[in-house]
Amino acid sequence: MTTPPIPHELIDGLEVFICGLDERGTILVFNRPCEHLTGLARDHAVGKSWLELFAIHERHDHVHELWSRATAGRPAGPYEALCRNGRSLRWQFSRWEQRHPSIALWAVGFDITDEREALARSRELERMVTLGNLVAGLTHELRNPLNGALLQLALAERHEVRKQGGLTPTLEAIVQATGEIRRISMLLDDFLVFVRPLPINLERVGVRRIVERAIARGGAKAQAAAVTIVLEPGDEVAAEVDPVRVETAVYHLLANAIDAASELDAREVRIRLVVRGNAIVIEVEDRGPGLPSSDAPIFEPFFTTKQGGTGLGLTIVERVAAEHDGRISHERRDGATVFRLELQIVGGASN
């Protein structure tokens, strides 16, 4: 019986990684996705040890054990590994010796990076919801003692005014404390909007129109800071999104950009819509000083670099992105800071 040729035209076209190995794990078959993944041409990969290429040394025993367990009808696995280029792979090993006696084992790998990321994002969302419920409860509870404290202060203020007239140090302290409590109260209001999200409401709408509304909402702030907002010309793009949420997210990006731009002479914020594949990207750009450092935890709740900031703006933006199966990213480009909110054109909502 002659050995049939390896059907390269078939295995090269699949979006899975396929390696044929001999009993010792030496590579005999190496499909094109494997070439892309490793940057190694087939001719160079053949003859090399699969373990050296795809498994770190500490885990060789684990792979050997899977190989010994794999039988013709029952693949062994999964073996999950991180590749040098940062992708995550899930491998299965199976035996199918009849057709190609020289090949003892087939290693079939799937790229699970996106799946992993989606899982991580949905876990994060879940965590935020749990946390949100807890904090919403706490927030409501806090209002009672705050109310009590504020009423006592109002009373003390009246007594003091009657007793002394004029602005005494005590009165000054009372007024200050009252102001602080009002500030806490405002923070709670902001926070409640964040922790108690309304159900997501996807509609087919023009994203440009939403951006224009966000710009209108940021108008007063921009004017006060003498910052010009420029919406770069372009066509309307329809997408399935929650218009209220997206407007809020764009508004927060704009508000940050306005704050940054107000710190220098080039008082301009640019905003543009870019269609990229299946996604619409809203880019907000300012030429301000940029982030304090590239790894500052800017999306974490309460992280702020601004006096009087609540540190919730970008957290809200990130949340809106996650709710739309989109993403938020940022970069420093030619002296400008660009925040990029990417949304799926065809409804990606994850709740």
Binding site: T139, H140, E141, R143, N144, L146, N147, G148, A149, L150, L151, Q152, A154, L155, R158, I181, R182, S185, L188, D189, L192, V193
Partner: protein, 105 residues
């Protein structure tokens, strides 16, 4: 209670009730011009309490103090104010709504 003292200081006559039963009794007996009720009354939540009150005839204008940023008014004639209360606003509302007698429950 500080709120009662502040209201008296503003010149209102204040009757106070603690708890649900006393609140209902006083509300129906006293002919108060306005009721200010805490949404977190002992034994009953404020919204349900206001509803119960309306079974004994139309209650006077009622201000419900609650801890939610947006709490839906249970009935017409009920104003919801979020804690911590904005005293200036409370006094403005009272001025529009009230005669001199207030029941705080």
């Amino acid at each position: 209670m500080a709120l009662q003292e502040l209201l008296r200081d503003e010149g209102y006559e204040v009757i106070s009730a603690t708890g649900r039963e006393e609140g209902v009794t006083l509300a129906t007996m006293s002919h108060a011009d306005v009721i200010i009720a805490d949404a977190r009354l002992p034994g009953l939540d404020g919204v349900a309490w206001v509803r119960e009150l309306s079974r004994y005839g139309p209650p006077p204008p009622t201000i419900l103090l609650c801890t939610r940023a947006s709490c839906p008014p249970p009935e017409s004639g009920v104003v919801c104010m979020t804690k911590p209360i904005d005293l200036a606003r409370l006094f403005r509302v009272l001025e529009r709504a009230a005669g001199p007698q207030i029941l705080v429950a």
